[in-house]
Symmetry: C2
Subunit: 767 residues, 2 copies
């Protein structure tokens, strides 16, 4: 079967043939959303193995006390079953031609089209359109059109609201009221079992034949967890029936939920549905497309020119921008970004260090208010971080490795997968000992404050985040027999090595964190005594400062070997070297886990991602070029990129190393994580951080942009096949347009509010 799900032209991601054996890919990569909710792009007709997710940001629920909270899969409104003269419309039966499914990332609209001949020989032309409105955060709108080609057909259509959805079997909702109003409007209420969030979901259908409205009587059926209507219509040859379906989703967790109870929401949401219905699909779609232009494409456009490959490169970075808008809950500072965005159930909607290290840069430079919301989320989850520290015998703020709702605390599951040798479940240590997250959060807050020039943020939230994580580190250090402090028994970003001591990434980031707290304490005491006093009363800076200082001074910082290689930890370089080419050649990740169990892998020189290199990227001044180069060569050989985060960092690093060809190759691979031909990569959702990584490849890697020591720097290195790269950056409130060609860099200040000084290829420039 010919499969080309990633036909790409201009703004369109398309597939030209349909393979029911691989539904997950398009469901995820073509998913729709607006930050409030994400909707997988499952087909209208149903197939075995589909995953029909509707996820509302922040609506976490815990199935039972032994599970962690996750984003529950809300009731589905997208399934529409069609019978043509009694035969169910399904592309694995009969014959199809002219198939296409397209996501237009410029407008956020999903369309499908196919000519279908039923097994019984009836011909129809099927087409559909669907949006999740970017202008109305609660709204989903869709159309299905059926044209009777050549023959009369009797159509039966079933459509409604289905709350039988689960998260791979876990049901997060109790049934609430199911109602219909005016024999027309369907409403279903469901409540999360543990967090007690009521969801109100409404839907209404409207029909027309050849453009003229027709009133089809609804045969309404209500059963357990489901409400739907059946409609029948006889079409003459040449006639076209169009069904418009308007649906909306509200929850009692919404910021705009006014109370007092769900009944108010039932009334209000129904009124809102009537309004959307009266606008009609085209107007809603146009309004949403305008929001896409305004919020994304006109604000921070990216241009790439070059050879025939460059169009695909441009699409990849725009596609990253598309998804980064789809999954960012910029409307609500109580939420963050899940590792799979809102496009699937993978990682349960939890956020990780991915936000600070991989995604935050995009938002800081493109959508500062969204970036601020993400940082505020960390501030609002400080109570949980402090509780986690206390529970582990530490002080200050120890951030959860996996974070969900504000007061959920650590949500990393205790077990995942199965040991291939023993048959026993594998313990996940990240929630306990993957501790670098606390420094990453501090690093993100600092970056945000500098890049966005947001002193209000720093004063309200940023200093506190940096200082209280420093307090955690000071309390967490282990005194060694050498008189130095060590950080023992951790797992670094390279999760193939657990229970290591002195992971370089962790130690240097902790060191940075302690130093940054000291620096700010000193600065605030001198420059902002009132603020200092307020913070001191909350964080006891006076007595913590000496501890930060002692920690920073005596923390053991791993040093390069004689061969200039920075040891990843106290153990890695003594491990066994093995040939990784078998695993590098596999078209799926984690293949090594089928041959070795984790205990065995820990004794090998193999990296999931090389965390030393990530350290070089975040703190580029720590080591000499010799150390960076030698370490690069050493670790790249030993790295499997079994984390989707790995490729893009390596691509940016390759640019820094001047290795343009390798950078481009890694960038392409990075794009292929979701856009590549492997059909199973995105089954449980797209890779949110990798989209941040793709943008970083382009802007930080090839564009050479970096915030360095509080200043903006641009050292571009275009791939050979690009002739021109243009992008827009928001730097401390000023919008800069940067154009890079083979031999020039042009920077324009589009805002012109104040002068911006930056370094371009080593020279200071003011715009």
């Amino acid at each position: 079967m010919g499969m080309n799900y990633s036909r790409i032209s201009d703004w369109i991601l398309g597939e030209d043939s349909f393979d029911p054996a691989h539904l997950g890919k398009c469901e995820a990569v073509m998913s729709l959303g607006n930050g409030y909710m994400g909707l997988r792009s499952a087909t209208e007709e149903q197939y075995l193995g589909e995953t029909r997710d509707l996820l509302v940001a922040g609506s976490f629920n815990k199935f039972d006390p032994d599970e962690v909270t996750e984003l529950p899969n809300a009731a589905d409104v997208t399934a529409i079953t069609l019978w043509v003269d009694g035969e169910r419309f399904s592309l694995d039966q009969g014959t199809s031609s002219g198939y296409s499914r397209e996501l237009n990332i410029r407008t956020g609209e999903l369309t499908r089209r196919v000519r279908w001949t039923s097994p019984g020989g009836k011909h129809i032309l099927f087409s559909s359109r669907r949006i999740v409105s970017l202008a109305r955060q609660h709204d989903i709108a869709m159309t299905v059109s059926v044209t009777a080609e050549e023959n009369d057909v009797a159509l039966k259509i079933r459509s409604g609201i289905n709350a039988r959805m689960t998260n791979t079997g876990s049901q997060h909702f109790s049934e609430g009221e199911k109602r219909f109003y005016d024999r027309k409007y369907l409403q279903l209420v469901e409540r999360t079992t543990q967090s007690g969030i009521d969801f109100v979901i409404n839907a209404v259908h409207r029909f027309s034949v050849n453009g003229d409205a027709v009133a089809l009587p609804a045969d309404v059926n209500i059963d357990r967890r489901i409400i739907y209507a059946d409609y029948t219509v006889a079409l003459k040859a040449g006639e076209c029936l169009t069904l418009e379906k308007y649906a909306n989703v509200h929850t009692t967790r919404d910021l705009d939920y006014a109370g007092p109870d769900v009944r108010a929401l039932q009334v209000q949401s129904l009124a809102s549905l009537r309004e959307s219905e009266s606008m009609g699909y085209s107007a809603l779609a146009a309004e949403s497309a305008a929001a896409w232009a305004e919020q994304v494409w006109d604000t921070t456009p990216i241009e790439i020119e070059g050879d025939e490959r460059s169009a695909r490169d441009l699409f990849a970075v725009r596609f990253a921008q598309y998804h980064m808008r789809v999954f960012v809950p910029s409307h609500d500072n109580r939420m963050n970004i899940g590792a799979k965005g809102l496009s699937g159930e993978g990682y349960k909607g939890h956020c990780f260090w991915d936000t600070e290290i991989f995604l935050l840069p995009y938002y800081m430079f493109s959508d500062p208010p969204a970036a601020r919301k993400l940082e505020e989320y960390r501030y609002l989850s400080l109570p949980g971080a402090r509780r986690k520290a206390a529970e582990n015998g530490y002080r200050g703020a120890m951030f959860p490795w996996e974070s969900a709702w504000l007061d959920d605390g650590e949500t990393c599951p205790l077990y995942a997968g199965t040991d291939i040798l023993t048959g026993l479940p594998i313990k996940v240590w990240s929630g306990i000992i993957e501790q670098h997250i606390s420094a990453d959060v501090a690093f993100g807050a600092w970056q945000y404050g500098v890049i966005c020039g947001d002193t209000d943020f720093m004063e309200r939230y940023g200093y506190e985040l940096i200082m209280d994580t420093a307090t955690f580190w000071a309390s967490r250090l282990d005194k060694g027999t050498d008189g130095l402090y060590h950080i023992n028994d951790v797992v670094g970003p390279d999760e193939y090595h657990e229970h290591v001591n002195d992971n370089a990434f962790t130690n240097y980031m902790a060191h940075w964190n302690l130093c940054k707290a000291l620096e700010y304490a000193d600065k605030l005491k001198r420059e902002s005594p009132a603020l200092y006093e307020r913070l001191d009363s909350r964080l006891d800076i006076e007595s913590n400062c000496p501890k930060w200082a002692e920690g920073a001074e005596k923390l053991y910082l791993p040093q390069p070997t004689a061969e200039h290689i920075l040891p990843m930890d106290d153990r890695f370089m003594q491990g066994e070297y093995i040939d990784l080419s078998k695993y590098k050649a596999q078209d799926f990740v984690g293949g090594i886990m089928k041959d070795y169990n984790l205990e065995q892998i820990q004794k090998l020189q193999v990296c999931k991602q090389a965390d030393c290199l990530v350290l070089f990227y975040l703190q580029e001044d720590l080591f000499s070029p010799e150390v960076r180069k030698a370490s690069w060569d050493y670790y790249v050989e030993r790295t499997l990129h079994d984390s989707s985060l790995s490729l893009s960092t390596h691509a940016v690093m390759a640019c820094d190393m001047g290795e343009e060809a390798m950078a481009y190759e890694l960038f392409r691979k990075s794009c292929e994580i979701d856009l590549g031909p492997v059909m199973t990569t995105s089954d449980s959702g797209i890779h949110a951080a990798s989209f941040g990584g793709i943008w970083q490849c382009v802007v930080f890697g090839f564009g050479g942009v970096r915030m360095h020591g509080g200043e903006l720097r641009i050292n571009p290195l275009l791939p050979k096949n690009w002739t021109r790269l243009g992008f827009t950056l928001i730097w401390q409130g000023e919008k800069l347009h940067v154009v890079v060609t083979g031999d020039s860099v042009t920077v324009k200040n589009l805002t012109g509010g104040k002068q911006v000084t930056l370094t371009v290829n080593g020279e200071k420039v003011t715009v």
Copy 2:
């Protein structure tokens, strides 16, 4: 598509073509089981819309506080996915020939067979066999064979244990341990969320090619709620691969569960699986078939001879016997029979009056130990019945309308369906005011005691059931202005009329209950003073007796009209008469609910089932032949048989009326409830009570058997097309073989333990 799911020959129910649009029918009617568990006969390959239920008797769980308990859908072991050269085996694709699926009710084995050509043109012969062992209550065994016809094929097989199953979306289990042992044995533990029952499910696969065992390496995968293995094998043309899969199910609710915790069960059940595996499929199947012969077919055989239709009639009653063995939990007196047996999620596994009125007769006459277990269940649930009485302000035992686990109390849901006019959910009143169940339970206990001659039962349990329900009735009567007692605001068996007063069925059954308690109190006081004293100390007979007597004496008993018609209640005959022919012609039940809401139906002369007639059947001496005849004519015209219980009672009554042709027609319709051509009737499970009804049609109706006034009576009336009817009855411990022909009745005492006196066609006979 040609559809003939009910090809019937001898002991075989077969379908010759497969329609994926109607999966529910065969899943249910061909379901397997052994009273411990029921397994829907879903196909190995999966289809959209399938319902893959594995229900373990008595394992009730409540999804959330607002739902009632139900039998949870346990992890599935039956799904086996097969890829032929990469193409998924599925009968809605490619082309098939020679399809058959057969249930052999004599052996309890399900088999399938089909030649399939993949869309890509590969030919295979697929066949499968499956049993739920009647000899080993925890065991499921199955085989799948694939023969490479004409071409070599590469096969991939996926099989395991899938705990993502739900009850129409409600997940009743928390995940427990998932393990594999020896890279071969799969084990999954799950625990019901509220009742805390651990289920341990094991499975193992064994392979052979052309009969020679082969060891295929298992690629084991463990994910959320699922554990499975993938196997691959290359078959040369002409080779046949056979997969044997052995599985078993144990729970911590099992009587034979010894504790101390689930781990013991994990060990023990795995050992048991190894034993079954070592026996092999054929031996397990033969052992189970032998149990079928011993427990059912050799014990209480039924023979029917006559014209060509009689073979189908014979199959229908054997089919009833088959299912009555499949769903009766005769191993455990803490369980009863669900309205859908163990073949589907309908009615949530709850038992109703169906047990006493429709099913108990079969077990009393065919399997007295099973009947006793069902009656003991009622005794064990007395605490709940007493609580229900107390909660409603009454005394004694008020049995739940719907009963599940012993201490669940009333489990009738509060709402079901939706009002077609208002769009609001419909309140189910049965749990509150369908009160005849308490008299039905007493009636069942009395019948069991007499028919099975079980004085031990009566002394331990029976008298108490009869007396404490009498106490309930005495406390529940409403004093009228006429000085009489009335039973106001009830719903009788005819549930189309709610909130009626003086429902004839209810009043007469309550009256019987009061009188029977008085009779026994009097008898025991005289004949068994020690027993009387023990009962008196528990039930306070002394002070209750006068209340029973007053109730019995002053209870208003509806009387026939001048036209000899018994009024069903105080309202029915004043209702509006409408023409029901539209609804009688519909091939689905409940059609009137699409035109009228319940409030409107209550004002019409329309019966779901005519409960007067059920009363005539249970208490045949109450009224004169004139009244019985006039009432029969009146109600039959007004009855829609919208309850599956209705047809068989009416058939038996028709025999009593001498209306042989109508009796036969109603009997046939009764058989068609599950065996008929309408493909949706059994989606949520077979109709347990209707199987009891079918047996009653044959033995009580055409066979003319009745227990009357404590004596056995036989007044046969064979259908015109039957020449001979033979059946076996167990009467007070003696096994009687009865043969009825057109002009003779022969009764033989097969046991010969003691003489049995009975009345045959009005004449006393002793055998």
